[in-house]
Subunit: 404 residues, 2 copies
Amino acid sequence: MPVPQEQLDAYAELVVGVGVNLEPGQAFGVTAYVEHAPFVRAVARAAWAAGAQDVDVRYVDEHLRKAAVELAPEESLGVSPPWLLDRRESYGDRSAYLLVRGHPDPRMFEDVDGARLAASRLHEEDAIWLRQVSERRVSWSLVSFPTEGWAATVFGEPDVGRLWDAIARTVRLDEPDPVAAWADHIRRLDARAAALNERRFDAIRFSGPGTDLLVGLHAGSRWQSAGEDTAWGRPHVPNLPTEEIFTTPDRRRTEGRVRSTRPLVCQGRIVRGLELELRGGRVVDVRAEEGAEVVQAQVTTDEGAAELGEIALVDGDSRVGREGLTFFDTLFDENASSHVAYGQGFGGCVDGAAELSPEEQWELGISQSSLHTDFMVGGPDVEIDGLTASGEAIAIVRGDAWQL
Amino acid sequence: MPVPQEQLDAYAELVVGVGVNLEPGQAFGVTAYVEHAPFVRAVARAAWAAGAQDVDVRYVDEHLRKAAVELAPEESLGVSPPWLLDRRESYGDRSAYLLVRGHPDPRMFEDVDGARLAASRLHEEDAIWLRQVSERRVSWSLVSFPTEGWAATVFGEPDVGRLWDAIARTVRLDEPDPVAAWADHIRRLDARAAALNERRFDAIRFSGPGTDLLVGLHAGSRWQSAGEDTAWGRPHVPNLPTEEIFTTPDRRRTEGRVRSTRPLVCQGRIVRGLELELRGGRVVDVRAEEGAEVVQAQVTTDEGAAELGEIALVDGDSRVGREGLTFFDTLFDENASSHVAYGQGFGGCVDGAAELSPEEQWELGISQSSLHTDFMVGGPDVEIDGLTASGEAIAIVRGDAWQL
């Protein structure tokens, strides 16, 4: 059953009004899968109604990517044409941009060559995007819309309506006033971030089955909620849903082993039971029960891909966690669980780094990469502590519950 | 009922192998509606298999255009972003390009403002495209794929299977060897063009109900079939189906009145009973039973939009004519009936003009415009004569049957 038009419109208004928080006169770009057309059309109408100066949608078709992965000559895989880079650059100056996720079929790439799949990523376009995000030059949001293939992966049957209902609750569309509910929610997350920033932890430690990981922070690492301001002071919400507080660690100071607690969909492949070992800040070993080769290819993409760019804390009481589902979609699963990401760090999360060049950020210890891949490491059996500069351990999460 | 995969694949191979006649190592671009994704995916696989160096698909969503026509600020309508023009330019150097038509809903724009609809056309992108085509710098083809909305317009019910069967016959997919059938067909059309070229007519006259039109030709006007060669000598078939032979007239020498014999879908609107009056080569009056304002807006778009750029002859025995349908799609209806087009002429159809600049072509009497709109003027009641330089009239078509 398709999502009713009234709910499409309400979601579109939330995404445009709270997610990207579109300003009148702003250029507005969208990347979405062809399967999302009904939602994208509602978004476009909401954006024009909000005063957009332009609405430009790039529809992506994962079946075309699969055809390329299977059939394209090696040298053609993952090439971003110059016009595509120009398009992406054009949104780096006070524009608004929406990414719509929700894969048409998370199992689509199960039977293709992992190295060719990783090579098919448009890494040059991604690099421009990650830089714009890191420099807060775009008012952006990442949201999801259900597809039959995604619903089948979650429920074993293509029950789009059931998946939509779960998504609608996680993005607070069930509230009488979703916009006000989001303002409240962001305030709560901001309070958590403020509490952590007061402590000025030197490192965060994750301990649990298969996990003993120490992630060193910068003296200037600042915890943030996913309610952000652009460089020109426009508030927006980069992820709907969002339940995390996060920062960027020192790329040189991660040590130990970590086991993912939820499956990860990466480059259209499901990765299960991922285990990474990090030494001196770098991933030195990748194992997984399934899909290891995708992550192995990713972490060797460029220098920063093997370093951590983000650490984020979420407890089990999040709206996403309460759904009790594995969504097989990072936007949701990362908001049900504490997580870390390898790849690009966020200059805006480290005092004084936002204005620095990529090279200067790297010197300062902020990972620079054309990719940024989150994976979930929290859960009921994982203890999370903050370590002070003097080595004292303070409990942050126990039994999936927030302690501070 | 969706089109069976086997038939999708056969059509895709025909389009890639005969339509654009893709060369190994060539860049291949596609513009299609989101509704065409199943066919586009088959085309992409056929293109990679044929050795494409790149396959880049631009999905267009007419519902987004409708949202813009209804809601966008005036100054945003029809603006081609720079990257879109760069993308289009990038295909002007020995590339292959496929346009997929077959509107998602030919009645979609019935209730919108005609002037805003006309203004929403991406005329800058179109102008680049028409120049590339005119200069034969791209190996291109225009084909159609059925949609529910299109089938409903033709049959009164969304019978996609029935529309697909009709399309499949018109493109000779019912032949045991469609590729060989196309080679034969193009030879037959070439013979017709050769017979007309031998006569060196000075003008063509259409006479019928509501029509008394004299179209002056250049001394160097050459009749061609839609089997073309690119400037670098690569044969391709720009329209599937195609039944016409055509040339470009002298833009200054059309006189009289003409009444269209079939409805025309123009800019997403159905135009019925179109009547044009031309004086000194220029449209001076536009009337229609329905949709006149779309054509009125078009012919005032630029200087050349009010002049004829093409004249084409088709008899009633064409494969498209034999289907006995009004397709509400110019690609088909123009191949069931003789037709003319206002707007851009084809430099390649006039001796010595192919290499000239747009300004030089215009001086020579070849219309230059950012648009090119065909409309149907032939039928059982329309007599078509060729006039020699001495004024003798020679019957070309009588009772919808070829006479030469």
